[in-house]
Symmetry: C2
Subunit: 338 residues, 2 copies
C-alpha cells in the first residue's frame, strides 16, 4: 500500500522499501540496468578512461524558482563531469529522507530528476534510500555520484594545462542568479521574487564547443563560492595571473539589487548553470559565437584575460576604473545553497 508520507519502514530494506522503490524510484528512473535491482549496476565500458564525481545536496528550501533539489542533484553532477571534458553517462542517487516527508513532494523531486537525466542523456542506474527519525535531518538530502566517458584523445579539462598569458576567459551568462533565487525563496522576500535559479545541465552547451573542435584549455563550473572562487582557486593552484573586467560581467538587475540590499558580492554568489572557460586569444571569438548559439549561452561574454603580471593573483578592474583583488572567501556567504 502506498503511504502519503515517508515512514521509518521505508528505509528498512524490507517490504516497504521494495514498495517505495517500485512505486516511486523505479517508476520514474526506469531503465534496464536499474530494473535488475542488484546492489551494483553493471556497466559496459568502451573507453580508456572515465571521470568519477560525487556531490551531496542539502539545499533549503527544496523547491525554489527555477528548480528543486532533484534538478540541482542531476545538474550538479552532470556539470562536474562535463567540465572535466567527459561525456556524462551514469548517475547514482542516494536519498536520506526525514520520517514524515510528504510522498507527493518526493515524487515531484524524483520526477524532475528523471526528466532532467533523460534530457541530459544520462541514466540513473543505482540508488539507495535511508530514512531517519523526525528531526534528525532537514526533510531530504540527495547524493548523486556520476560516471562519464572520455572520448579518445580528450584530456582532463579541469586541469589548467597550457594556459598562458594572453588567453581569454569566458563565461556563458549572468552570475549570481541561483544564490539570490534561493535567498529570495528562503526568506519569502518581496524583492527578488522573480529571480529564477540558473540551474541547468551544461553538457550539451559544453559539447557544442568541444565538438566544434575548439581547444578549451581549462573549464570549471562556478557553483558554491561563485565565479570569484573559481578564479581565486585557479591562480592559487597554477601560479598564473588573471584579470577580469567588472563591466563585462552580466548580472540581472534584480540579482544586483538584492545583492546590494543584503550586502552580498555577486562575484561570490552561487550559480548552478555557469561554466568558466579559458581559451587561446585566437579561438576566443569563435568560442564566444558558439556559446551564444546555445540557449544556455546566449548571454556569454569574454570577461578577462590571463596575464603573467601578478602571477598567483586574480584582479578585477572595477567599473570606476579601480583594481580589486579577488581572494578566496574566508567565511560562509550563504549556507545550504546546494
Amino acid at each position: 500500500m502506498k503511504q502519503n508520507t515517508i515512514l521509518l519502514g521505508h528505509g528498512s530494506g524490507g517490504k516497504m522499501s521494495s514498495e517505495l522503490i517500485e512505486s516511486v524510484f523505479s517508476r520514474y528512473f526506469q531503465n534496464e540496468i536499474l530494473s535488475r535491482q542488484t546492489d551494483s549496476a553493471v556497466l559496459d565500458v568502451n573507453t580508456a578512461s572515465i571521470a568519477f564525481t560525487t556531490d551531496s545536496f542539502v539545499v533549503e528550501p527544496l523547491f525554489f524558482p527555477g528548480g528543486n533539489i532533484g534538478k540541482l542533484a542531476v545538474a550538479g553532477t552532470v556539470n562536474d563531469l562535463s567540465v572535466s571534458g567527459a561525456v556524462p553517462k551514469y548517475l547514482s542517487a542516494g536519498f536520506i529522507i526525514e520520517e514524515g516527508f510528504p510522498m507527493d513532494q518526493l515524487e515531484a523531486i524524483v520526477k524532475t530528476m528523471a526528466e532532467d537525466a533523460d534530457k541530459a542523456g544520462v541514466h540513473i542506474v543505482t540508488g539507495d534510500t535511508k530514512v531517519v527519525d523526525k528531526g534528525k535531518c532537514d526533510k531530504l538530502f540527495i547524493n548523486t555520484s556520476g560516471i562519464g566517458y572520455f572520448p579518445e584523445g580528450r584530456r582532463d579539462l579541469g586541469i589548467a594545462k597550457g594556459v598562458e598569458a594572453g588567453d581569454l576567459i569566458l563565461i556563458n551568462g549572468a552570475i549570481g542568479s541561483h544564490g539570490m533565487a534561493i535567498m529570495a525563496a528562503r526568506n519569502e522576500l518581496n524583492i527578488g521574487a522573480n529571480i529564477q535559479s540558473d540551474c541547468a545541465c551544461l553538457n550539451d552547451l559544453i559539447y557544442s564547443v568541444l565538438n566544434a573542435g575548439y581547444e578549451v584549455k581549462f573549464m570549471r563550473d562556478a557553483t558554491r563560492g561563485g565565479l570569484g572562487t573559481v578564479l581565486a582557486e585557479l591562480v592559487s593552484k597554477h601560479k598564473i595571473g588573471l584579470q577580469i573586467f567588472e563591466k563585462k560581467l552580466v548580472i540581472e538587475q534584480q540579482v544586483r539589487g538584492m545583492c546590494e540590499l543584503l550586502g552580498f558580492d555577486p562575484l561570490y554568489v552561487a550559480n548552478e548553470g555557469k561554466v568558466v572557460m579559458i581559451v587561446s586569444k585566437n579561438d576566443a571569438d569563435a568560442v564566444l559565437n558558439q556559446l551564444k548559439k546555445h540557449p544556455l549561452g546566449k548571454d556569454a561574454s569574454i570577461i578577462g584575460f590571463v596575464t603573467d603580471e601578478y602571477a598567483g593573483k586574480a584582479w578585477m578592474e572595477t567599473i570606476v576604473g579601480g583594481k580589486r583583488i579577488i581572494e578566496m572567501l574566508s567565511g560562509q556567504q550563504l549556507p545550504r545553497i546546494c
Copy 2:
C-alpha cells in the same frame, strides 16, 4: 587555522573548505588522483565492464563496538561491489556534517576510512563536504559510491543465474552481530556490552573463493534486513525454493540472548560482514573449506539448499523440527542501523 569544531564556513567552498580538505581529508585519503583536486576524478579503465554502486550511511551512534560510520561506509560499498563479482577499485566520499561537530571525531572517522580503504585495496578518489546548521542533521552522514572492475569473463554474480534444485547455500559466519552491537551501544545496555559488530570488507574473502576457480552462482551481502531478507528477495525474484536449517545458523550467545530479551528475530538483524553464496552441490564442500581458511570465514557453514518444491518460497526448518516460512519483513526492525 584548524578549528576544533565544524563551522558553516567549512561547507562554503571557500578558504575554510580548502583548509578542511587539506588538514583532514587530503591528509588521510592521500593519493595522486585525489590530490589533483578537480571536481571529477579521472580514472584509467582497463576492463570491458564496471560495477557502480552507492550507499548513504546514517548509523546512530557514530562509534560502536567493532567500528564507526567510516568503517561501515567503506565496507558497505566495497562489499556491494564485491558480491557482484567485481574487484572494488575506487570510492567517492560525500560528507554531510552538522555545524558544531567535533573535529577530532571527524578526523578519527576519516582515519578509519583511509586505513580500511587501504587494507581493501581501494582508493578514495573524489569527495564532497556539505555543512548544515545545528539541528538540521544528526551529527554526520556519509555517502560512499564505488566503482569496481570485472575481470574478463566474470558475469554479474548478484543475478542468480543457473541456480537449480540441489545447489547449496553458504554463509561465512555468525549472523545478527552488527544489529545487536548497535542496539547495545545505542541504549548503553549492560547486556550485550561485549557484542562486536562484524563490520568488515569482504573482498579478500570473496576473491579467495573466486580466484580458486569455484563457480559461485549467486552472491549477496546480508546487511539491512539480515539473512532473512536476502533469502526472501531471492525467491520472490527468481521463483526458486530455498530451505535452510536453524541448527546450521551460527549466532553468538550474547546476540541470541539480546534478541530473545528484546524480541528481535536474528534472521532479520543486520550484518555488515556476511555474504550468502549459492554454489553447486559438487563445489559446496570445497568452497566451505576455502571460506574457513580465511579469518572472516572461519565460522562459515552450509545452511541450506535450493529446492524445486515450494517455488517462490523460502523456509526454515526450526531446531524443534517445525517449518517456518521466511517472509519479507513488513515494518522496520531497527532504524539507522547503517
